[in-house]
Subunit: 506 residues, 2 copies
């Protein structure tokens, strides 16, 4: 597409990526900031994406033996204090409830009813769920416990950004307790693979998997595994994490069981989660200068049909035809759900409606007017192609071909994203090259530079911290390697076990 060709959004991705992101969110009507600082309103089109993600993930969790439960929103202050690293990580950014009543005073409401112990709005639920597991677990027979919770959590954010970093967000948090270390480690890895599969097969988001370095580890975890994606400004985004918590939280919460040998042991626990941040990931991964692009397998609306009714006399016939087509398509099962069809018969110009659905990212648009009707054809457009590209197809053939086209779009998006990541991933073996890689080369487009640097590192947190301070670059993950390639640390010249992935990140 030439620079001069008009796009629905301004600025374009390569002009101002952060502002472009906000424009995609606005143009697709996904969400907006509320008047409560850092808290977003997720609008229906955005929430529909979350509902689909919930539906698919929930099925995957259940298929791997997990059940859902619900634990309190509030955590007593003293619970948070129990795990030292956890306190450090989460206490800084909490919403604290100190009163349980309001009173009128001079016509104003003021907090009243001071709580004897303040309550924290959960930033994550290891401590409150740990307290429950401590009550439930007596014997090895009570293990494993394999639960998941769909919930809202709050982490006070100083620089909120819709979907990516908000004070309140929606997520799921799995919490499991096991008899052995081995079982817990297996669970941690199993759920990482669930996330990887979900991201790839539904979101068309290729992810790297690996372990987090010490500096990026979940506060209180022994090991944090992650799925990490590269979005279109070549930055990394952590899209999901799975934590092996060892016995840290079971010791903090007192989750003890009588072992098969009759000894009192601490359980081994895990936790794992993904959040509405996945929506932000999806947006930055696939959208273009015309707005959102929704991968078909995570869409709830796969097809929009726009009847063109310029003349009153042919209106009824056109509407009948589009209704008939909509019904036929809705009867088709696409990877487990019926094809979602919007029939946009609003009394607005076809162009206006068409652009609205482009900006909303619906995979396939179908227009049918009086002339099409006469010829038995429809104009079909795909969101993964140019906004003006249309193909005239026989209407009767659409139900038979639609699932194939949706699959093709899905595969195309994944392929494009994978190639993009490959193009911007580089093995780097000199500090000079590393620095250059992460420095904007084009003053006009300062956002667009860098990517994933595969570089050697001596394994120390000091180096990590230093690189972060100097270049705002962090280790995104230490990839799982069957035969790691040893080398020399770029920063210290010390031995390195393997290359790790460095990037700027969200």
């Amino acid at each position: 597409m030439s620079e001069k060709q008009q796009t629905a959004l301004s600025p374009k991705r390569d002009q101002d990526f952060p502002e472009w992101y906000q424009q995609v969110v606005r143009a697709a009507d996904l969400a907006e900031n509320s008047e409560v600082r850092g808290c977003m309103v997720i609008k229906p089109w955005g929430y529909a994406l979350w509902e689909r993600m919930q539906g698919v993930l929930d099925g995957m969790f259940k298929a791997t033996g997990h059940r859902n439960a619900y634990f309190p929103l509030f955590i007593p202050l003293s619970y948070l204090e129990k795990e030292a690293a956890h306190v450090e990580g989460f206490a800084k950014e909490c919403a604290v409830v100190t009163h349980h009543r309001l009173e009128s005073k001079d016509g104003k409401l003021v907090p009243a009813g001071v709580l004897s112990e303040p309550l924290v709005v959960r930033p994550t639920s290891e401590t409150i769920i740990g307290a429950a597991y401590a009550r439930w677990v007596k014997s090895w027979r009570d293990l494993p416990i394999l639960l998941n919770q769909w919930a809202n959590v709050v982490r006070w954010e100083m620089r909120p950004r819709v979907f990516l970093r908000t004070a309140e967000f929606l997520w799921q948090e799995g919490h499991t307790a096991h008899e052995t270390q081995e079982e817990a480690e297996e669970e941690t890895m199993k759920m990482l693979r669930v996330y990887e599969t979900f991201a790839r097969d539904y979101l068309a988001v290729p992810v790297l998997t690996g372990e987090k370095s010490e500096g990026e580890r979940f506060p209180g975890a022994v090991k944090t595994y992650c799925i990490e994606a590269m979005v279109q400004d070549r930055k990394a985004i952590q899209a999901g994490t799975s934590h092996f918590l060892g016995q840290n939280f079971s010791k903090a919460s007192g989750i003890q069981y009588q072992s098969r040998e009759g000894k009192l042991e601490h359980a081994w626990t895990t936790s794992w989660g993904v959040s509405t941040r996945l929506i932000g990931t999806l947006i930055m991964m696939h959208s273009d200068d015309d707005g959102l692009v929704v991968p078909p397998r995570i869409a709830s609306t796969h097809v929009v049909i726009v009847p063109i009714t310029p003349k009153e006399e042919s209106r009824a016939a056109v509407l009948e035809a589009v209704n008939h087509l909509a019904s036929s398509l809705r009867a088709i099962n696409f990877h487990g759900i019926p094809i979602g069809v919007e029939l946009d018969a609003r009394d607005l110009g076809g162009g206006i409606k068409n652009w609205e659905w482009i900006k909303k990212g619906v995979p396939i648009r179908i227009e049918i007017g009086p002339r099409d009707l006469a010829q038995g054809t429809a104009a079909m457009a795909r969101r993964d192609r140019g906004p003006k590209e249309k193909e005239f197809v026989p209407v009767d053939g659409i139900p038979g071909t639609i699932a194939g086209i949706l699959d093709e779009i899905q595969e195309g998006l994944l392929l494009r994203a994978t190639k993009f990541r490959e193009t911007h991933t580089r093995k780097i073996d000199s500090l000079e090259e590393f620095k250059k890689f992460f420095t904007p080369q084009n003053r006009e487009k300062p956002e667009i530079h860098g990517g994933f640097a595969l570089a050697h590192w001596n394994g120390s947190k000091e180096v990590e911290d230093q690189v972060k301070d100097e270049l705002k670059v962090t280790i995104r993950c230490i990839p799982f390697e069957d035969s790691p390639e040893p080398g020399v640390c770029l920063f210290t010249g010390e031995p390195s076990r393997q290359r790790v992935v460095w990037a700027k990140s969200y």
Copy 2:
């Protein structure tokens, strides 16, 4: 069942209803109190009920044109102040966030980062959603807005009781805005009918519908409609409400639109909700002295199969047979979802397992042992019959008959509940009889008395308040009557338009 026959629970319903309720919750492992006052932990078996309720209701909401969205957990104090009646109703029992950080001080965490304006954890979202609608609505073309939110809410409760009255609970809240009063009133009634249908057809809970009196109205509403059920201690429980809010909240929030005539008008709004209280309603409606009874259409586990494997040599054959049966049953669609089957092959005695599933309320239990296998039969037991009643049926016939049996159980539960309500509903025309009706007659069973009294009332709040103070009896609803029967108020002798429903309530 004779008084002497042993039951799984103690006390029985007619001995101590409130304690029996707690025992049902415990025996079925539905939920428990957390260490956070008034906040419950909903355990997997209880949460599964909520998930089914969510699934069914969500489908009904979408079928009536609603979409889901999500609004902030926190409400600025100033928003709550906007609607005068609303403040009175909700300000008293709020969780108030005053700080956004914690700091370590002498090894303890203390609240820090004082918020310039305290935030209230939503007790309900009219005000925060109203603020969003005020931003979104400009013209009559932007109306109606038909949204629903699945969320947690917090109302500080002094006497919490699991599912029935908890500080935090889960619910859905629909919020709609309309161009005309007529449309908004129609919406209010439409959603009341959705609740009525859901309660009857899925929960097997027959409900009365009607309008709330002034004293029981939602704070800020013009009219509150409700579904009201009678549970087994003959008390009423409000199971869902639908509010016509008039222009009260649109004036408070500034939801204004340019009308078709070009004038600036305030929108007409509604809100409607049901909560995890429905689980409490379900429990008190159908459970018996052996524990929970789950109506088949709201169950996620419809059938439990218990293999009996006394001898090692026949174990494999029995397990193969039950696995085969489980697969056949899971392939059957029961009112839109696959039949849920638990296969309980744990290494425990058949009796222990059997009683566990009785207490959990699974509609149908099937036992298969070596002798059954030889004869091609299975022992089938229904939760709506005595715990020892079994019927030997041909295994091959089960898949063909199971849906019919589940329907029969469902119908039986609804019928029993309806008859129970009829038996304990009485037209009352003297104050003396009214008082006697609501006074325990049996000192041994003080909980079990009363019911629904249909009595005349002059329409005044003073009378309502007085009866409530004296007898703890309130007006549960003013039934919709096409041809109301006028009469004389029981309490004042003044004219009455129609009989209203009086009861003690949860």
